[in-house]
């Protein structure tokens, strides 16, 4: 298979979901079953194609980057810049090929799952259309080789995310969440856009390769390394928004208002991982300082959201914060320089987190049906406090869920163990390379690993183990249909280590690590991060320690979870109401008060600003406009009419107009006099000035309106009458006969004869 064929296949994978979207959005009402089979089969076909692409890429073009470039716009010779053209195109390197497969797997399984989960939904067809739009946009992000197309697709995934979060827009909270997601991510995108513009301004190209080439040659934005760091961080802003990193992480938990399969696809596996993907794409241009910031942002995010996840009771909220936390992990991994580990974690996390969400979807579906059958509309189907003991009723869901939980907690023999371990080893290497305060990062990493194990097992225990609260309700709970359990099983299988590396305790020998190599930095040596050799060397030393530590913290976390929630040796409520923990618990339960903080500062600040503008508009601008209008009315009506409305006002007008008239008279006098000193001239001009003053005062008194009514209108009416008269005369000439008109035309020809002879 040649390179062209591969690129063509990639193009097909990219465009087919768009066709799917276009067909479904317009014709879903005409198609049988609202066209769900179309979207699902298209995505499975895309999955097959992407597997072919990945297989071929890894086996035949392992170290090559396949690219196709075409010129989109050619500006020719731009003044001050020279030849400029904008190239767009696609590339398939190993990262893109793997990402393509990941997106295809999750998207196709989510399509399948949705057939069951969204059954009888009012906007069933539209839902599948939007899924198609999302897949198209996501493939665009994955396959593009330039920042412009990346940005366009970036906004498109934002749009489809908005549409899908707001799928049940009748619910106020859903439409609010959609708006919040859209606006908050847009804040990050503004930064990304500025970053892109800085790069474009410097390099006059959008393609990654060309930018990196130029940087390698020592060409950096504005010749300043600070600007280079800034542009890297600005592009990272896009990732902060999209991947829900601190401080823009607030939208992702709210986005759980969307249908659960959507949460699995967009808000767990693919779109939020796009931020991480963006960082891997631009990794080569990140300076050491930028990477440091990225690492800290990731660590802070991982820590904050892990603490919040402990206190949440909504099954999807717990998973949402867990997602934010794991995304923080990936970002942190990239930031410390463990490039491959970060991307590896993205891949494995996509599988088990999508699985977790789909599993929770299965649970919610079962709970919802049971509650519905019991006519219970008050109990929350998503609250884990209402669950328990579902293990026997939903065995497939339970065992797969347990598999994912083991994976996310980092238990050996799972994919999560491999990837998490590599990240933690990376942080250890980072700590030992930088020393001092920077040990904070590995410490946070291990702490969060423990927290993750704890809250995930808390979730499993509360949901599936123990006794159900209501014995009648549990009778009504059933396992979900096969369209929902098959994706669960597939994803659970994919959470085993064997798919990524045959060595269960080390990923470095697996195909993934061979395929994804950390790119060489293109920034100047002085500001570059620690190079790959030294980093790998250090990483090698810390590997054993990392494994040991991560296993023990995970074990502790699981143990605490079981003691507290399964064996009930520790009473969680007692701990939560203990003096110190009381406030801490409240703090975590309320999500560190981020929403309240943003409400108080940014939202209220903008409201206050708007109020100030409104005051300015209402009072100052309207005042000027109304004042002008009032004075104009006064002038047209004249003082004569204002007597009726009040003496005082009229006298005021009278005085003002009298002064105005005198001023005009004075101006006329002085103007006419023009420096002439003779007495006669002075008297003459003075009289004329007086006349002007008297006339203008008279006009003001009777009002300009009177003048207008009598004289101007008189002239206008005269003209109108004259025109009417002329029209009556001209009417005689209009006989309606062709021959008469021809005669006139010939008369005109004769006139021309005389004119031009």
């Amino acid at each position: 298979m040649s390179q062209e064929t591969l690129l063509t296949l990639a193009l097909i994978v990219w465009l087919v979901p768009l066709v799917d979207f276009a067909v479904l959005i317009f014709f879903h009402k005409r198609l049988p079953r609202s066209g769900d089979w179309l979207g699902t089969s298209i995505l499975f076909a895309a999955l097959a194609l992407s597997l072919v692409i990945l297989f071929t890429k890894l086996n035949y073009f392992h170290d090559q980057t396949l690219q196709t470039i075409f010129t989109w716009v050619n500006f020719g010779n731009v003044p001050g810049i020279g030849e400029m053209q904008i190239d767009l195109g696609f590339m398939i390197d190993n990262v893109a090929a793997i990402m393509l497969v990941v997106v295809c797997i999750v998207s196709s399984l989510v399509h399948l799952f949705s057939i069951g989960y969204m059954k009888d939904d009012i906007r069933y067809g539209r839902y599948f259309a939007y899924l198609g739009l999302f897949s198209f946009s996501m493939f665009g992000i994955v396959l593009t080789n330039n920042l412009l197309l990346m940005y366009v697709s970036w906004e498109l995934v934002g749009l489809s995310s908005y549409l899908l979060i707001g799928h049940w827009f009748e619910k106020k909270s859903a439409s609010d969440a959609a708006k919040k997601a859209f606006i908050v991510t847009r804040i990050g995108d503004v930064g990304m856009f500025i970053g892109i513009l800085i790069l474009f301004n410097t390099f006059h190209t959008f393609t990654f390769d060309a930018i990196f080439e130029a940087m390698k040659a020592g060409h950096i934005p504005f010749g300043s390394e600070t600007w280079l760091t800034a542009s890297g961080l600005l592009i990272f802003c896009g990732a902060v928004g999209k991947s829900a990193q601190f401080p823009l992480h607030v939208w992702l938990p709210d986005a759980m208002e969307g249908p659960t399969p959507v949460s699995a696809l967009i808000h767990a596996a693919t779109m939020v991982a796009a931020g991480v993907y963006l960082v891997t794409r631009t990794f080569a241009m990140m300076t050491a300082e930028a990477l440091m910031v990225i690492a800290y942002i990731g660590a802070i995010t991982a820590f904050i959201s892990a603490t919040i996840a402990i206190a949440q009771n909504d099954i999807k909220k717990v998973l949402a914060y867990s997602t934010v936390s794991q995304l923080g992990y990936m970002i942190m991994g990239l930031g410390v320089g463990a490039y491959t580990a970060g991307f590896f974690h993205l891949t494995t996390h996509a599988m088990f987190k999508a699985g977790l969400f789909l599993g929770s979807g299965s649970v919610i579906y079962a709970m919802h049906n049971a509650l519905h059958r019991a006519n219970d509309h008050n109990t929350d189907a998503q609250d884990i406090r209402n669950m328990g003991g579902l293990r026997t009723k939903m065995p497939i869901t339970f065992w797969t869920f347990l598999m994912y939980t083991l994976a996310i907690s980092g238990i050996p023999l799972t994919s999560g163990f491999l990837s998490k371990d590599e990240i933690l080893a990376g942080t250890l290497a980072f700590g030992s390379l930088h020393g001092g305060w920077h040990w904070v990062i590995p410490i946070t990493g291990f702490f969060v690993a423990g927290l993750t194990a704890f809250y995930m097992f808390r979730l499993v225990i509360l949901t599936f183990l123990g006794e159900h609260k209501d014995p009648h309700r549990i009778e009504a709970v059933h396992e979900s249909p096969w369209v929902m359990t098959v994706p669960l099983v597939v994803l659970a299988v994919l959470s085993f280590f064997a798919f990524y590396s045959f060595n269960p305790i080390g990923a470095a020998s697996g195909w993934f690590y061979q395929a994804v190599a950390r790119p060489d930095s293109v920034v100047p040596i002085a500001v570059a991060a620690v190079n790959t050799e030294i980093f790998t060397e250090t990483l090698h030393h810390s590997h054993g320690l990392a494994m040991l530590l991560s296993l023990s913290v995970a074990g502790i976390g699981i143990l605490v979870a079981f003691t507290t929630y399964y064996w009930k040796k520790i009473n969680a409520d007692t701990v939560a109401s203990a003096p110190v923990f009381k406030y801490l618990y409240k703090f975590f339960l309320n999500k560190w008060y981020f929403d309240e903080f943003y409400q108080a500062t940014f939202v209220n600040g903008i409201d206050a600003l708007a109020a100030a503008y409104r005051w300015f508009d209402n009072v100052v601008i309207d005042g000027i406009v109304n004042g002008v209008a009032k004075w104009t009315v006064g002038i047209t009506h004249g003082v004569k009419h204002t007597w009726k409305e009040g003496i005082a006002g009229s006298i005021f007008y009278l005085i003002v107009f009298a002064l105005l008239s005198l001023f005009m008279g004075w101006q006329v006098t002085v103007g006419l006099l023009a420096g002439s000193g003779s007495t006669v001239a002075m008297i003459e001009c003075g009289l004329l000035g007086l006349c002007v003053a008297a006339l203008s005062f008279f006009l003001f008194y009777v009002g300009v309106g009177g003048f207008d009514n009598k004289i101007i209108d008189g002239i206008v009416n005269l003209v109108v009458s004259l025109a009417g008269l002329l029209g009556l005369l001209a009417r005689k000439l209009q006989t309606g006969k062709v021959q008469t008109y021809l005669a006139f035309a010939l008369f005109g020809v004769m006139v021309f004869f005389l004119w031009f002879r």
């Binding site: 006969k737 021959q739 008469t740 005669a743 010939l746 008369f747 020809v749 004769m750 004869f753 002879r757």
Partner: protein, 167 residues
């Protein structure tokens, strides 16, 4: 007086005389027949101008085609069966004024203008081959367009003139 001049005036008189009959006669059938002679006279004038092909075309198309058409429609649109169908005139006075002015103006312009006449007499030869060549080379596009127009006119005329069945 040369024979050439005499023949020229002969054709001129035929043309203008018949035209006068066309214009001033009240009998439409007579006018139509006079028009025939006017066309014939113009064909003679063409021969004087060494335009043999045009002259023949004039005879064929005008005399043979258009005249027949006109006569047909005269017959079809007259109330009476007899041939001396009268036809009225309108706005005579202004029309006389205008056409006199136009004719006078044209003659005056033709008279006073100093035409750059090519004094040498062109070689007298038959023009048909050359015209044919020009029609198929330099004037090919207009020629094709004209053929399409003729086809359209043919179909259109048949369409329009068809007597519609009253439902």
């Amino acid at each position: 007086m040369e024979l050439y001049t005499i023949i020229f005036y002969f054709f001129t008189v035929i043309t203008l005389g018949s035209t006068c009959i066309v214009v001033f006669s009240r009998n439409i059938v007579r006018a139509a027949f006079a028009l025939l002679f006017a066309f014939f006279g113009v064909a003679g004038i063409y021969i004087f101008l060494l335009a043999d092909f045009i002259a023949v075309t004039q005879l064929l198309i005008y005399v043979g085609g258009i005249m027949v058409l006109i006569l047909f429609s005269v017959m079809l649109t007259s109330h009476q069966i007899n041939v001396d169908a009268k036809t009225g005139v309108i706005q005579t006075l202004p029309a006389i004024l205008i056409s006199a002015c136009i004719g006078g103006g044209l003659v005056w312009v033709f008279w006073i203008t100093d035409w750059k006449v090519n004094s040498q007499l062109p070689i007298v030869e038959t023009t048909a081959p050359k015209i044919g060549e020009m029609l198929l080379t330099k004037y090919l596009l207009p020629f094709e367009v004209a053929s399409v127009i003729l086809l359209v006119a043919l179909i259109g005329a048949a369409m329009i003139a068809r007597r519609e069945k009253k439902v």
